[in-house]
Symmetry: C2
Subunit: 457 residues, 2 copies
């Protein structure tokens, strides 16, 4: 739906408008003015403002928003903020908000709604919409089915462009992101697509089948969203038809859903790398934040504890040569950093599907080559520093050798961990950073202290 | 341009087709078949295949690709792979390839071309295109001007839809991603936009000015690409007009350029976090990889060395109580992990523009609250473990207290580092992870060993 009536904010105004909302909130007399201003904002902008406000201010603004826009805004806000808004609403409000949404939007927020609300809303839907909602909910997260909508316009292949245009005029308005019509046969099987641009510039007497593009990207609901996103990116698509196994048109995927998906995935992988389980509301209560973060800290604790026990094995050596305690974290740290470099590059290439089976060995050799070069450069430097500080050539030599060996270990693990995870069909990114750091910490301590025990003590 | 003739690959076929290319490459007699297959591929798919092949195979395939498609493919490949392809071409080939491109595409690959090639190509351009190229090159990376193209269709506000449609028919084909026409006055100033969907469903006798959307998103070439991307995401745009300071239409931004930008930015931030300076070709020579990675390893080396010197300060204490050496990495490691969690969340919120000036103190208190909770939970657990292993209550107590203090330090730094960087107008993400780990390592060692020296030794 084209929203001509609502003004859209220039890019740089958004943050200013949050500050404005804050100011108006503080002054009870100006609440009607605030309400008027909120009414003038696009739902996505209200979502933005809500996300940027702490809990109490957020709920105060939420109360001021017209109830008939609640649904649109709930679709736009982040998962974490949606939870806090839904928690503040009663069943009647939620049902009213949900009823303003289309099936695919409803499916997006359904996981956050109480079961009785969903039940009630489903009852009130017309049969076709209910079927669509059921379909949308049946596809797993991360599939094309979960992202698609049902707003496509289909025309038959055997009609003239003139007839197709007459049909469109009766619709009054085309759904958002209609850059092309989907062409189907009598059985609703997809035959091709007809870009609006072609419809406009072509002779109206021609038959749709003559003007359409017969061969083009089509998707299946079971396709991975990631693959669909990559097709949108490679072929610069605005929309693509989604068909079932028998080739019947069931929905469409549009670029706005793809953009949201890409953003969210990149956010998730960034958060996961830092050890957060979900997107976190910046203003979440302390306990919620704790719950979001404890799991990875616990994992980290276990790996740190293992590394600590490795050091424990060599306490006698450290007691005899206390310099080892000061030097060992350097060996472990550089190894972790270097291993993460290797792994990040490989995980990215894997995600882009760029590593063929036959190239893994080649990659491993290459990474070991980089590790040896790094090891010689930094190992020599650090060995020299160790010699300068502690006056022992042997200690410098052990330092340099340990550095080289730990970097080779890091490179091997940086290739092996994503390889193993990918072969097992797991996401190679998830938790890889923790795993590799665990290897290079424990491994680095073991190599350095082991060599020191052999050669120095 | 709509490319009906080139078949597009189903999502899951791409990786298979790389394997296919590999197989055909191995057999000299089947090279003509390989050439035919490559001719049938979309430029973006050829780019994909090239990126997935090691250096020699890549150049062999590159030789087989028809020369008139070189330009399109160079635009599609990643920066790292583009360099390797351009290095294999002579000036004449490069000029021929560059001449097939439009001004905005040319601007994208210009940084990788030798100066004499650019010179030659610029000479051969018609005046208008030359001016466009100059404009496109004049905007800094990361601005709307650097992403925009010049392929918009503009109509005058005072003509009828009928006349507008007649004008469009004369164009034969509309530029890609034309979801709307831009409406201008006699001075080329932007007056509004006319979605194709509206044009199709509206009465052709109406004037453009009556049907257009007068108020809508418009961008300036100087706007940050990040802000424009956020507007595309919030308002679900396919295209947006770009105007100069006097409101004259100068170009347009399309969603495909925005998607590429988002992907690239997310890749860059992922790579930067792991300490890679640029996107790296998986099959890059060892020396290229070393160059891409050494800078961050050097930074890491310096911070690790500082941490090592902090430990050096307490060598006497460690010599007396060697358990300290085994326990200190735990305190440092958990602090680093926890600080990274805090910082990642704040950097993300900052990038989304969600943190108002007035909320920083609130945030700091909240994060210190989370840190105290974490500190009590994990500190107690680790203190108990330390007691179990070393039988000293005092050691357990020092461990727990050090843990709490280092987590509070981590939380404070996790808020302070992005805050300071943002205030200075720097990218808060860049290198933050290294900075915070440096604080929590040196800080963690100092706190733990310091407390131990006071209470235990």
């Amino acid at each position: 739906m084209i929203e001509a009536m609502q003004s859209r904010l220039e890019v740089e105004d958004l943050s200013r408008s949050v500050a404005e909302v804050q100011r108006l909130l503080g002054d009870a007399e100006r609440l009607p003015e605030l309400r008027r201003r909120l009414d003038g904002l696009h739902p996505a902008d209200i979502a933005y403002v809500l996300e940027a406000l702490p809990h109490e201010e957020r709920l105060a603004v939420w109360d001021l928003v017209k109830a008939d826009r609640d649904g649109d805004i709930l679709v736009e806000v982040s998962d974490a903020v949606r939870e806090s808004l839904i928690a503040s609403m009663d069943s009647a409000e939620l049902i009213a908000a949900a009823e303003t949404l289309e099936a695919d939007e409803l499916a997006d927020i359904a996981p956050d709604l109480p079961p009785d609300v969903i039940e009630e809303v489903v009852q009130s839907l017309p049969a076709e919409e209910r079927e669509r909602l059921r379909a949308a909910l049946s596809y797993p997260e991360g599939s094309v089915g979960a992202l698609m909508d049902f707003d496509h316009v289909a025309v038959r292949e055997d009609v003239s462009l003139e007839a197709a245009t007459r049909y469109l005029r009766r619709l009054d308005e085309l759904p958002d992101h209609t850059d092309q019509l989907f062409v189907v046969d009598r059985e609703q099987r997809l035959r091709g697509t007809l870009p609006l641009g072609r419809l406009i510039v072509s002779d109206l007497d021609l038959e749709v089948a003559r003007v359409m593009i017969p061969e083009n990207v089509k998707l299946y609901p079971e396709d991975a969203a990631e693959d669909a996103a990559s097709a949108f990116e490679r072929y610069d698509l605005v929309s693509a038809p989604v068909v079932d196994a028998s080739g019947r048109l069931v929905g469409r995927l549009t670029v706005d859903a793809v953009v949201d998906y890409i953003r969210q995935r990149s956010a998730e992988s960034q958060l996961a790398e830092a050890g957060l389980q979900h997107e976190e509301d910046v203003f979440a209560p302390v306990l919620d934040s704790f719950k979001n973060r404890w799991a990875w800290l616990a994992v980290n604790l276990v790996t740190a504890f293992v590394a600590s026990r490795v050091i424990g094995l060599f306490e006698d050596s450290i007691a005899q040569l206390v310099a080892l305690a000061a030097l060992m974290p350097i060996v472990a740290g550089i190894g972790g950093n270097s291993g993460n470099q290797t792994m990040t590059m490989i995980v990215r290439a894997l995600a882009l599907g760029q590593i063929q089976k036959s190239y893994w060995t080649k990659l491993l050799y290459k990474e070991i080559g980089v590790a040896l070069l790094n090891g010689v450069v930094w190992g020599t430097l650090l060995g020299a520093l160790a010699y300068l500080f502690y006056g022992s050539v042997a200690l410098g030599g052990v330092m340099a050798l340990a550095m080289i060996l730990n970097l080779v270990l890091a490179a091997s693990m940086g290739v092996a961990i994503p390889w193993i995870r990918a072969r097992r069909g797991r996401d190679p990114a998830q938790g890889s950073s923790v795993l590799i750091t665990a290897c290079t910490d424990s491994g680095g301590f073991f190599i350095f202290l082991g060599l020191a025990t052999i050669f120095l003590v």
